[in-house]
Point group: C2
Chain length 408, copies 2
């Protein structure tokens, strides 16, 4: 463990979605995909308090509806089963029935209540789940024999080039609480493999309503602030499970250390979000946009999103072109009330715009800064106290190549 | 002249921004750009009633402010002077003073009132106008000697690969009214050459307030419905001049043939908008998205824009991949109330989604359709009467190449 600047939160070396007490996971290949792992499960020794955030896309896939309805029953989950390769989206009544059957079968096999099983799918839109393969996968799940967190984290991927995982520990009321997570990003070689999935786990005991509000808040500041190409999928899901196995005094918004717990949760989410952005399709760089001095949280978020989503900014970063005009332009069309005469922009520590006017800078220095693997675009609107961060990646030939390739 | 389906509106072969009576134009090279024409002027024999629509970007360039203020004085313009190469945007007080000086000098040279001269610039953001070159260009303007509409239409271009122009004639009250136009698109090899400029002219006499409302309405249905990369510039401007030289009964919203006039104006605007979309950076194809059955105009517009702006849809069209899932996905995140179970999508005449569910189709046929130079994506929301069209282009390697190239 290494101490971070937030001195009370320590990140766990090689932290995973099962770093917290009582969580286990596994993954296998059931044949939906050619050879990659395509079925994974995450399990808690006891039912965990659960919170979820789902895509805003009007076309919500069947497994999202089943999961949402299940959590609504008693705000608890004990297992999550995920397949990759087929999204079970735009699949009508058959899709709902397949998602429910998956849930039933997994509940039987794991000896947990059906509504304590979340189901998730990521992959092709408009294709039905191959239920024979799914049920054979469920029969093969074995919580004792074939546990492997790494295989779970692999099984949820689509075109991601690496697994995404992170964990932290935080001392609350004298107990060491662990928060871990795993995620997949939005890679889409095959059509519509668009999904972002993130699973967060903790061994803290937490009040369910406080947990849901914390997840909403954190998602808006982290997972909702990343973009690969601005396309938001039908299956995006973030789930958070708190199983209470540390037997701490229940945490809620009234607890004196609530802010610390939320900060730890945000830290895990932000790291996973950055890992997703960095592994965007065809990406060679992680771009971090930092917005300061905004009149409101919404303004800060929107300005950050406009800049991180700009194809022109993304192309310029790819080409290491210190092209501040494109940043200013994107700030201007963010549909937020911006005072052009106060805007300041810097690329890392190089100021390029001050009070709305260009600053002379060494273009070579700017270019060299942008040649790095991680670059920051810092915007100060000088019009308030609100801040936001947004993450994305550069737009490359490889992105176009991946997404223009025909599906055969 | 060829009769269109709107039988009363006829398009003019080789129609231009000077097809209407009393308009003339010219262009020259004054040295802002290496060798391409970079200064143009458009002139009306008499002061014309004028309407304007400007970028929503918070960073409005100096020439826009000067033009807007000038039109506000008596809703008239007699000339437009445009330079390319430098946008006079993010240039502070000096930029305002340069724009005003340009207006003054042009007014003297053309013997018109200063506030009857619109000024426009397109090119690099954050660079001051080279006023010596501009004033020498103004001295060289000659309404008799060096008239050339083609040179005007060239002078306003930046990285466009061709000029954009169109004109129609329409019979109103027994008089033949001509409406012409020229435009430039959003090509951005150099940073921030982002501007869309469109100039519309007519020899009809039109009530100024009706003219402005018509332009607002039409711009929302045409120029605001095109996208190359979603980046909206600091200099986008549409101006409409009606000089009344046909001596028709003044047109206004009360006139029985007002709808016909507006339709003719919309026709010219739509053709120019399509020419801009088709000539987007690196584009190989024009994509037309047609939205039907929407509950409101706003919903129709937003769904159309979400689909035409999707990098995934644009890449799929480039790769001729009949990837309807990406279209459905974009409809879903348009933030409009869409009923997923009613949505129908076709690629040209090939239905791919009906009532929210995939339809079996011949993938080869779909691919062949998308190999064409112009493709239509038709969406029926089956939830109302509103319609919209949106235009864009495919996302290609060339786009990334153009925009990643360093500015030297």
């Amino acid at each position: 463990m290494v101490t971070t600047s937030k001195s009370k939160i320590q990140f766990v070396k090689k932290g995973h979605v099962t770093s917290a007490k009582g969580f286990s996971a596994g993954g296998l290949h059931c044949g939906i995909r050619k050879s990659k792992l395509d079925f994974g499960w995450l399990h808690s020794d006891v039912p965990a308090t659960a919170a979820g955030v789902y895509t805003m896309n009007s076309f919500q896939a069947a497994p999202l509806k089943v999961t949402k309805d299940s959590i609504a029953i008693d705000q608890k989950l004990q297992a999550i089963v995920v397949n990759s390769g087929v999204a079970n989206s735009c699949t009508g009544a058959q899709g709902m029935s397949d998602a429910l059957e998956t849930q039933q079968l997994a509940a039987q096999k794991l000896s947990v209540k059906p509504h304590h099983v979340a189901v998730a799918s990521t992959g092709l839109i408009g294709v039905h789940l191959p239920m024979e393969k799914i049920s054979s996968a469920i029969r093969s799940m074995d919580l004792k024999e074939n546990q492997s967190t790494d295989r779970f984290e692999q099984a949820i991927l689509t075109t991601d080039t690496c697994t995404k995982h992170f964990a932290v520990e935080v001392e609350i009321d004298g107990k060491t609480i662990t928060i871990g997570g795993a995620a997949k990003g939005s890679g889409m070689i095959h059509p519509n493999m668009a999904t972002m999935l993130a699973y967060l786990t903790t061994d803290a005991e937490v009040d369910p309503d406080s947990l849901q509000r914390a997840l909403n808040h954190i998602t808006n500041k982290t997972f909702n602030m990343i973009t690969v190409d601005g396309d938001c999928s039908t299956n995006d899901t973030v789930l958070l499970l708190a199983n209470g196995l540390q037997q701490n005094q229940p945490l809620s918004e009234d607890h004196p250390q609530w802010a610390l717990f939320v900060e730890a949760l945000r830290y895990v989410s932000e790291e996973l979000a950055k890992q997703i952005a960095k592994d965007g399709e065809g990406a060679t760089k992680l771009i971090e946009v930092i917005v300061k001095g905004a009149p409101s949280d919404i303004a800060a978020n929107q300005v950050g999103k406009a800049v991180i989503s700009s194809n022109l900014v993304k192309s310029a970063v790819y080409g290491a072109d210190p092209n501040w005009g494109r940043v200013v332009c994107a700030i201007g069309y963010s549909e937020q009330p911006v005072n052009p005469d106060r805007v300041c922009v810097s690329l890392g520590e190089i100021p390029v715009v001050t009070d709305g006017l260009p600053v002379e800078f060494d273009e070579e220095e700017g270019k060299n800064y942008l040649l790095q693997e991680q670059v920051q675009i810092i915007i100060d609107l000088q019009d308030g106290e609100a801040e936001a961060k947004a993450w994305g990646c550069d737009l490359t030939y490889e992105y176009v190549k991946i997404n223009a390739s025909y599906r055969t």
